[in-house]
Amino acid sequence: MSDDELDDAIDTAFRDAVQARAAADRYRLDLEPRPATAPAMDDQSDDSDDEQEVDINLEAEDTCEQLVQLVLDSEQWDIPRDIIQSVMEIDDEEAAGRIGALLIARATGYLISFKESGATPQQLDAAVNWIGKGHGAEHAGPAGVVAALAGHPDSQRILTQRLGVADVTLDQLAEFLGGDFFPAMIWLCSGMVATVGGGDVDWLRQHRISGT
C-alpha cells in the first residue's frame, strides 16, 4: 500500500468512525427524543473501533428478562449497575424518574412472583450461593438481601434487625441497597434462572407481572 493509499485509508477510517458515533448519539442535538435505550458499553480492553453495544428498550415488558439474558451470556454482572446509572443520568428528570420506577417495579414483580409461587428458601439460597461462587460476594450479598422480597425468612429477619423495624418497606430496602437495589434484583433473577430455571431465561417469563 502506497503512502497516499495509507493516508486515504486512515482518513476514511476516521470519517467512518466519527460518522457512526455522531449518528448513534444524534439525540444530543435535541432534534429528536432521547432513546430509552441503554448506552454503549465500552470495552476498554478492545483496541478496535467496533464497540460492543447493547440495545435494550428499557420500557419494554421483558426488559428484565433481556437483562438477565445479557448478564448470563456476557458474564458482565455490572451491566444492571451501568443501566440504572445511565437512567439516572438522563437529562429529562421526569423521564429518568419514570423509567427508573418502571424498571424497579418490573424487577420487584418477579421477586414477588417467586414468593407467591412458593419459591423455597433452599431454592433462593441455591441461587445466591451460585452467584457467590461464580461472581463473588459483591453481587451475592445484595442478591441475598433482596431475597427478602421473594420471601426468604432469613433475609427478612436480618433486614428487620439491621434496620430496626418490624416490617421492612420497599423504600427502606431501596435506601438500604442504594444504587444496587435494582441490580440486586436482576442478579437474584439471574441466579434463579441458572439454578431453578436450568439456565433458560424463558423460565423467568412465567414470573413476569404484566401491567407494571
Partner: protein, 255 residues
C-alpha cells in the same frame, strides 16, 4: 412601515416628536426624507425594499436563510434554530471536517451546535483509540499542529459535565456577548482565575516581569466578543481537525 409612510413632521412651531425607540425613530427619519423628496415612485420603491428586508428578517428568525435572509450568517444570535442545526448536521455528516458552506449558508450559532456535537463524536473516537481523555484530545493535537484549542476544549469540558451541545454553545456565546457589552459574565469564575493566575505568577514568574505579565493575562471569554459565533465555529472545526490529526498519529498501520 407606517412610520415611513406617515412620519412625525415638525409642527407649525417647529417642534418635532421624537420616538424613544431607535428603530421607530430611524423609520421616521427615512419617512421625513421621502416627504421632502415628494416623489411617489421613490417612496413606493423604498417601502417595497424595506418590506422585502423585513420579510427576510422574519424568514431568518424561522431558520430559513435563503435569498436575502442569508445576511444573518454574519450575525450572532444567542439561540439556535432547530432547522439550521439539522441542516448543519447534514453538512457535517457529508464531511465531518466541515466545509465553507457552514459559514456561507447557515446561522453560525446553530452551525456551532452541530459542530459541537461532531467535535464530541470525533473526540470520543480519538480518545478511545489513543487513551487520552476526551477533554484533552484537542490540547494534545496542538502538539502536532498549532490550533486554537481553548474554545473546543471549553466546549468539550462543558459537554463532559453533562451539558447538551446547545447549552454548551449558547452559554459560551452568551458570555462573550456579555463581555462585548462590557459586563463580566461570571464574577466568581473570574475571581478564581485571578487567584490561580497570581499563584502561577508567584510560583513560576519570580524575577521575570515579562513572565509575570504573561501569566497574569486573563481572558474574559475564549471567543472574539465582536463575532463570537463565527469565531466559535472556526475553532470547533479546528478542534475536529485536531482530532483527525491525533487519529492519524495513533492509527494502526495496515500490513
Amino acid at each position: 412601515m407606517e412610520h415611513i409612510r406617515r412620519p412625525n413632521l415638525p409642527d407649525e412651531h417647529g417642534s418635532l416628536i421624537v420616538s424613544y425607540d431607535p428603530v421607530q425613530e430611524r423609520a421616521h427619519r427615512v419617512g421625513r426624507c421621502l416627504h421632502r423628496a415628494a416623489d411617489t415612485d421613490l417612496t413606493a420603491a423604498v417601502i417595497g425594499d424595506v418590506e422585502v428586508e423585513l420579510d427576510a428578517v422574519q424568514h431568518a428568525e424561522l431558520g430559513d436563510l435563503s435569498g436575502r435572509s442569508v445576511q444573518a450568517v454574519q450575525l450572532t444570535r444567542q439561540a439556535a434554530s432547530p432547522v439550521q442545526v439539522a441542516a448543519a448536521d447534514q453538512m457535517l455528516a457529508s464531511d465531518p471536517l466541515g466545509s465553507d458552506e457552514l459559514f456561507l449558508q447557515l446561522d453560525p450559532t446553530s452551525a456551532c451546535v452541530a459542530a459541537a456535537h461532531w467535535l464530541q463524536a470525533a473526540a470520543e473516537v480519538v480518545a478511545r483509540r489513543s487513551g487520552i481523555a476526551v477533554t484533552n484530545v484537542v490540547i494534545e493535537s496542538d502538539n502536532i499542529e498549532a490550533l486554537p484549542h481553548a474554545t473546543p476544549t471549553a466546549v468539550l469540558e462543558l459537554m463532559d459535565e453533562g451539558m447538551s451541545p446547545t447549552d454548551a454553545v449558547t452559554s459560551l456565546i452568551r458570555d462573550a456577548m456579555a463581555v462585548a457589552e462590557g459586563e463580566i459574565p461570571d464574577v466568581d469564575d473570574l475571581r478564581d482565575r485571578i487567584e490561580e493566575a497570581e499563584e502561577n505568577a508567584e510560583r513560576y514568574g519570580q524575577g521575570d516581569p515579562d513572565a509575570v505579565a504573561e501569566l497574569m493575562k486573563i481572558r474574559l471569554t475564549p471567543l472574539d466578543p465582536r463575532r463570537p459565533a463565527r469565531d466559535m465555529l472556526e475553532d470547533l472545526l479546528s478542534g475536529i481537525r485536531g482530532c483527525w490529526l491525533l487519529f492519524q498519529e495513533y492509527a494502526d498501520i495496515p500490513q
